[in-house]
């Protein structure tokens, strides 16, 4: 382990942080603001769910800022592994999509993907997209880790 070699673990972690935050921002901007599919509040949400929603929302915003500065910090000390960070970002984005689809939509019932339609195809598409991103992230991350280890030993 040397001081200025790209750091796989930290790069993946930072990528995950950014992936979650960017996906959350996309969700907020595209589905809430542009398409208007989701509702700000849909009259059925219990107060406890509103509290957890508020905390998650606040955490996502802070993660976005933290992620950008952590990438800058890794980069200035030469420890940023780009492929590892990209893999992490895909993992984070897919993980958030699945979490939003399963916990926010189904478990907490904060809001649904869309209203006034048959939900099943929307839910399936939503969660399948999350799974695909997650799988792609796993492949990219493993490959990046193997390439870095190969460089270190060879």
């Amino acid at each position: 382990m040397t001081a200025t070699v790209p750091d796989h673990r930290r790069s993946v972690g930072t990528g995950v942080l950014l992936g979650v935050a960017v996906m959350a921002a996309v969700d907020e901007i595209v589905f809430h603001q542009l398409l208007g599919w989701h509702h700000f509040y849909d009259r059925a949400t219990p107060d406890v769910a509103l509290l957890s929603d508020g905390l998650l929302h606040a955490a996502e915003l802070v993660m976005l800022v933290a992620g950008v500065f952590l990438v800058a910090d890794l980069s200035r000390s030469g420890r940023l592994a780009r492929a590892s960070a990209s893999g992490g970002a895909l993992l984070g984005a897919g993980g958030f999509q699945l979490f939003d689809g399963l916990v926010d939509h189904k478990l907490l019932q904060l809001h649904q993907v869309r209203y006034g339609v048959d939900l099943l195809p929307y839910d399936l598409a939503w969660n399948a997209a999350g799974l695909v991103l997650l799988a792609a992230g796993a492949v990219v991350t493993r490959r990046a880790g193997r390439a870095l280890r190969g460089r270190a030993t060879g």
Binding site: M1, T2, A3, T4, V5, D7, R10, F40, Y41, R43, T45, D47, L50, L51, D53, G54, L55, L56, H57, A58, A59, L61, V62, L64, V65, A66, V68, F69, L70, A72, D73, L74, R76, S77, G78, R79
Partner: protein
């Protein structure tokens, strides 16, 4: 409050006080950053805008103007004022006889307790819960004095909170980055929660879709998204400070030994 003078006077006092301290700054000290001056002046102008007749007059009966006034006074003006680093400026410019007692006050136990991020968040964001979920809000609509006190509290608590989380000014025994980030998330989360709670309340109590109900839901949404903007700026200020200070410990030690790839990655302390 139908005249411009209270708003103009407040802004003018804030601006001239700062510029006066700037003029008195001794020549042997580091030149003062222009960005700090700009930040303070923006903050001073925002205080004036929040108190100006167009907002202040409508704030008593229009929920939108009320919310704009609160966001400006409690979140955006404090960001500008605190990033202007007024304490650092005053400590540099004041004569020794005045600076020493000021430092003593800053190091006193009550100031430690008050400027802890959790206390500051409780006063700032917690104060909003007290305002909107108790009869206090109705009182501010009937009493000018209470209304004025609430506005003053918003501005002062907002400044205290911004200083505790991301202020460039010295804050003795301020907790580390982790506590400050955690406080920011919880306080911003509580702010978003309160905004949605007020929205839900407006929807429930005005289920008939009256104009009044629509104005209240609009104001609650403004609180939610306006709060987001302030949280984002505060997070940027906090992490920019963290980055300038050197970032993670691992990053600092890596940069301390950049040319020797075989050097051990032991943190330099």
């Amino acid at each position: 409050m139908t005249t411009w003078w209270p708003a103009a006077a407040t802004s003018a006092v804030l601006a001239t006080g700062y510029l006066g301290a700037l003029l008195a700054r001794p020549a042997h000290l580091r030149p003062w950053s222009g960005l700090r001056t700009v930040a303070w002046l923006v903050g001073a102008v925002l205080v004036g805008v929040a108190l100006s007749p167009p907002l202040a007059e409508h704030a008593q009966h229009d929920h939108g103007a009320h919310m704009a006034q609160h966001l400006l006074l409690g979140m955006y003006a404090p960001l500008g004022l605190v990033l202007g680093a007024p304490l650092t400026l005053v400590l540099g410019s004041a004569p020794r006889a005045a600076a020493v007692p000021l430092v003593r006050v800053l190091r006193s136990r009550p100031v430690h307790a008050l400027s802890h991020p959790v206390t500051a968040a409780a006063l700032s964001t917690g104060g909003l819960f007290a305002l909107y979920l108790t009869p206090l809000y109705e009182l501010t609509r009937s009493s000018t004095v209470v209304h004025g006190l609430v506005l003053a509290h918003l501005l002062l608590a907002g400044c205290l909170y911004t200083w505790a989380i991301a202020g460039p000014d010295p804050a003795p025994r301020r907790p580390g980055t982790t506590v400050r980030v955690a406080t920011l998330v919880v306080a911003a989360g509580a702010h978003a929660f309160l905004a949605k709670l007020l929205y839900a309340d407006a929807v429930r109590t005005h289920a008939d879709g009256t104009h009044h109900g629509a104005a209240m839901t609009d104001a609650a949404q403004a609180m939610y998204y306006g709060g987001d903007g302030a949280e984002l700026l505060l997070a940027v200020a906090l992490f920019a400070w963290w980055y300038r200070r050197g970032g993670t410990r691992a990053g600092r030690s890596a940069r301390a030994a950049p040319t020797a790839p075989s050097a051990p990655a032991v943190p330099l302390r």
